[in-house]
Amino acid sequence: MAIQERDQLDPIRGRKLLVDGGPSYHDITEAVCKPVEQPGLAWWLAFLPSLAVLGIYGVSVFWLLWEGVGIWGLNNPIDWGFAIVNFVFWVGIGHAGTLISAILFLFRQQWRTAVNRSAEAMTIFAVICALQFPTFHTGRPWLIWWSLPLPNQMQMWPNFRSPLLWDVFAVSTYFTVSLLFWYVGLIPDLATMRDRATTKARRIAYGILSLGWRGSTRHWQHYEKAYLLLAGLATPLVLSVHTIVSFDFAVSQLPGWHTTIFPPYFVAGAIFSGFAMVLTLLIPIRKWYGLEHIITIKHLENMAKIILLTGTMVGYAYAMEFFIAWYSGNPYETFAFVNRAFGPYYWAYWIMVTCNVVTPQFVWIKSIRRSPAALFVLSIFVNIGMWFERFVITVTSLARDFLPSSWDYYSPTIWDFGMLIGSFGLFFTLFCLFIRYLPMIAIAEIKSVLPHANPHFSDRKDGGH
């Protein structure tokens, strides 16, 4: 495969051009609206299998509610099994969306405009998947409202000193803010969909959702300020969410969990896995929908570089955990880590190390990081590795705690796998519905990074248009 080594430059900014082929504003509108207006066969090929996998989830949840959490492979001491592993896995995936939409926005990384909409949608759907697991893990999900500080007939209030309650606040705030951020970004594009609508139902639906947006500069001014503020709020929020998720572990006394490296290590891992999922989703989509000139190879390369950075940070954290376990001189801590690598779950540990530490290092090679097919394979490995990371942290620490008499081995049942695989069905079904009904690329933002969107484009000395 021929690798394009040099990219075109923007005539004014002198930076790499963000959209290939020099399209007009109207070309952008057409390219992004086409998947919604003429979905084609590819969409059904993605949607129907997703729906079938969602069916597996439905059956698993039905049987869980009928029989209780005894159908899972949980035992004593491993009372946190797949449910927590899957929860942390999905929440982690959600973090890339906010990183792209908020942190890269604050750093003025304009390439984010091509991928932020779909990454934010991915965030919202991943958090929906994540919230399933603690809810069903309670055993009586209809009582999940007990975790909220609501006046009730029992005259009881939640324990605000518990990291699990911090998690309730962090994840629900994160979901709400992500949803608001996503919707605010969608308003101008929903107005585009409204103005292009050919049927009355579409015009009314997009008309209501776009709130009567008319592109007024007085509106844009408040809008851009709101967007900047939301980005500024979402940035500490996203870091706090996975920090608090890591507190679920780090605040406990268990060897292997009780470490101060957990917050930064969890945040780096979350961004690492989230970017891998963005690549997994966008590499096929840009191909199927002919959006390769908007989500260009440069975008994939940038995301691959972030995967390399965060993957290396995760590898550093693995090494540092071992170093501290030895350096602390704590026999329980030392045992927990030796047990991780060479104990009964050694296979999970080495899958994790191979996928998370070795795989991202291939990104150093230019021909790999500029090849969509190679990056797609790489992203799948990272997804697998990050799921195993959470499995290793949760299960190996619980399975071998202080007293050998209470040790046990955890084996998931078919229903554990049903919920895990089924949650991918939920995720992909929601994502398919998103690309079917909403513009998957921020139309207005992409137009604003075209060279001729600069009001001084035509003032240039060398002629202009």
Partner: protein, 182 residues
């Protein structure tokens, strides 16, 4: 050209532009001519167009700051009240209230209220949702969300005069200038 005074009350004059640069320089001219009740309409946020129009900066940050402080205060008060007055119960021998353990929830409440302030404050300042606007009656205005730029000077502006305002807009490289009925 028909005399507009005999027709129904007009909303204003609408000028159409083909590029961001054209609308930018046109806005500078309309601003310098001293109009106040007018606006420009663009498919994306054109950089610095608010300055070319001479609009004051948004007051939204103050709204968000107030909301954030309210949220954080509500968060810490809720935790203090429920842990010391409503349901005082000693868990793991820890004090009933200590700010360290209450930082995460306070922080999240502050962020949540700020985000609501940013979104609903923005919609409030923009008077959205507003499902009817006279400009929506103009067929060509549908392209404002695609690839065209517009300026509308409203007839309620004290300096508005159909002929003079039209002359001003026609002198700004407008592709077309037309009257819009109210």
């Amino acid at each position: 050209m028909a005399t507009p005074k005999k027709k129904a009350k007009i909303f204003g004059l609408l000028a159409e532009y083909e590029s961001a640069g054209d609308v930018y320089h046109a806005c500078e001219k309309v601003r310098d001519a001293g109009y106040k009740r007018w606006d420009s309409y663009t498919p994306f946020a054109v950089h610095n167009l608010d300055k070319a129009m001479g609009i004051k900066p948004s007051i939204l940050p103050w709204i968000v700051f107030a909301c954030g402080m309210t949220g954080a205060a509500c968060g810490i008060l809720l935790q203090w009240w429920s842990a010391t007055i409503a349901y005082p119960i000693i868990i793991a021998g820890k004090p009933l209230f200590s700010f360290q353990a209450n930082v995460p929830v306070t922080f999240e409440c502050g962020i949540l209220f700020s985000a609501f302030g940013a979104v609903f404050g923005m919609l409030g300042l923009n008077k959205l949702p507003q499902f009817y606007h006279p400009l929506f009656n103009v067929a060509r205005f549908a392209r404002v969300t695609d690839d065209r730029f517009f300026i509308a000077i409203e007839s309620s502006d004290p300096k508005f005069d159909v002929e003079k305002t039209r002359l001003l807009l026609e002198g700004t490289h407008a592709a077309k200038v037309e009257e819009v009925e109210d």
